[in-house]
Symmetry: C2
Subunit: 344 residues, 2 copies
DNA sequence: TTGTAAGCGTTATCAA
DNA sequence: TTGATAACGCTTACAA
């Protein structure tokens, strides 16, 4: 009994001797249709197992109620929390979420941007690929008044919504915490410089050192490309092999921070006594590793929810406005064993 | 300049004095159209910034090239790896992936099933909610010959594709490993009984004990509902408070296994000397915790890729067949410090 | 090789 | 309160 055709409003109309317009209206409880007819139609629809064809209605209405999400990779704790938050809000509003991965490649990002556009998504939420420098491929959304939200890895300039944290002050707070614990030679594993979130964290770190009159040495800062565990290992080994090695490190994500802990431990350093570590993101591993990894909270789930809400709110407006609106979320220093050298 | 209408094939046809059918065919390099015309059309399309309206073509062709994914929660390592695998294969084939979360609720699962159906997805990949016992809500897909793949948490019976591991033998292997390391009172944190993957692991565990003539005691087996860290803590505290406590534990996921390690350590037990632990899934935390968590590999990414491929392959067939096809993926015992009591 | 025209299922305008 | 009809943008059978 497969492959039988879908029941459409025509079938319902036929069965009840009504017109399709009446059926269509009755199905959405339009006020102009009598209670009796509305009831009759909905009953028939249920009995005949009618399911609305969203494609047809999307085509007709020129809107899909679908949010496109374009991120580097789904299987990172930050990203999956982000999507989860996006999806929860979308689901409640009856929106679908479609997912595309850039794998941190500029080319993939451009292609998937196009694919999302062709799918006529109602809105787009994007965290830029590591490689991405220009954002021309997003212009088409703005040109069509399709709301676009950049989240976390945002471009420096683009007339649109941005949902982010204050990376500068987060970097400052991270370094400051280490300084307050008495560390004096503080290294930094940073992301690529043109990616502003990493650059801002680095600036915050630099300014904290400056404020406390600690040396800012370029060889204590290592820029890595993907922030993988392996890159972290390599960077930390290099740092600890310096003639005058650091006594602490601020890593711009938890993965490389965990690598720092493991490498330092394997070299016989005691943590936090000999070597302090603070990461970024508050990934699940940060509370599992021994000692616990101090880190900066990064409210991914909340950022996802807000991003969805921005899209939904924009779609409710009838006016067609160009908007630059930045939402900053709060971050906290989460202190665990990896950096807690002083008793309170 | 926003809100300008999309360029359609009508616009291209007008501009070139051709019919829409010619344009449509030229855009897909149909063989019946002359090289010259094809070239001309594609050039004009590029110049006019034409973007195909996938909705319209989906409606017309009655297929969306979209795979719907219905899972409990995105932000679990297993699930995000799974989706990542699904998406990679889909993306290559020009398919979209739309995501829905059941949050392990039966009601949500039913609702999202309907939403996916209404979206006219070309295929569905689902890992059942913890609560789900009946699968009537999936009948509609089978009835319409829409390929359906159950992955990991599969129903016991349903004529469709299934992608899974051999949970019985995985459970057996896990218990066997502990036995071989000399543990003799082996407890088990199990998932809900009616969820077959957990029940099969439990059976494997039971049969391993039987084979090695170890006692099977019901009070050494605790069934938990969500397998959260907190549930794990509670269960392990209970087990270790028994008059005759276990000397090892096999947990049906890594989250509760990590809880077991932490609780045991906090109670002064040495791991693996006094207490052995093996988990399930090989989540990232398993290699970070100290000692490293022994576990069973669970090839999520690969399972995602295979699931996508099953969908794509089915869609290529013209025939309309009911299929029961089960793909079993291999699992390995991954031995780390939490259970390695004997020297090799 | 190209064109005509109908149709996918829905919704909105206008008329009754 | 209900109905007739056109339209959304694309594809395809059939005709030329």
């Amino acid at each position: 009994m497969s492959q039988n055709k879908d029941v459409t409003i025509y079938d319902i109309a036929d069965a009840l001797n009504l017109s399709t317009s009446t059926v269509s209206r009755a199905l959405k409880n339009h006020s102009s249709i009598s209670k009796k007819t509305t009831l009759k139609v909905n009953e028939a629809a249920a009995k005949m197992q009618y399911t609305p064809n969203i494609l047809a209605s999307s085509l007709r209405n020129n809107k899909t109620n679908t949010i496109g999400v374009l991120i580097s990779r789904i299987n990172r704790p930050f990203m999956s929390d982000l999507i989860s938050g996006i999806e929860v809000v979308a689901q409640k509003a009856g929106f679908n979420v479609i997912i595309a991965q850039s794998h941190d490649s500029y080319e993939d990002e451009v292609n998937m941007c196009q694919a999302l556009y062709n799918s006529r998504v109602s809105g787009v939420i994007c965290s830029l690929a590591m490689e991405t420098k220009d954002t021309d491929h997003f212009d088409q959304f703005r040109n069509k008044n399709i709301p676009l939200v950049f989240v976390d890895r945002v471009p420096k300039t683009f007339t649109t919504y941005r949902v982010m944290i204050d990376n500068y002050s987060a970097g400052f707070k991270a370094a400051q915490h280490l300084i307050e614990q008495g560390y004096t030679r503080i290294a930094h594993i940073a992301g690529l410089k043109f990616r502003s979130i990493y650059n801002e964290r680095e600036q915050g770190y630099r300014d904290a050192l400056k404020k406390y009159n600690l040396p800012e040495e370029d060889n204590l800062i290592i820029h890595v490309k993907t922030m993988s565990y392996e890159e972290g290992e390599k960077a930390v080994n290099k740092l600890l092999s310096l003639e005058n090695p650091p006594d602490a490190i601020f890593s711009s994500n938890d993965t490389t921070a965990v690598a720092a802990i493991q490498v330092a431990k394997s070299r016989g350093l005691r943590i936090p006594e000999d070597f302090g570590v603070i990461g970024f993101n508050n990934d699940p591993i940060s509370r599992i590793i021994d000692p616990g990894l101090s880190t900066i909270s990064h409210p991914a789930y909340e950022m996802g929810k807000i991003s969805s809400k921005k899209i939904l709110k924009h779609l409710k407006k009838s006016k067609n406005e160009s908007i630059t609106e930045i939402s900053f979320l709060n971050t906290d220093v989460i202190i665990r064993g990896s950096s807690k050298r002083l008793k309170d």
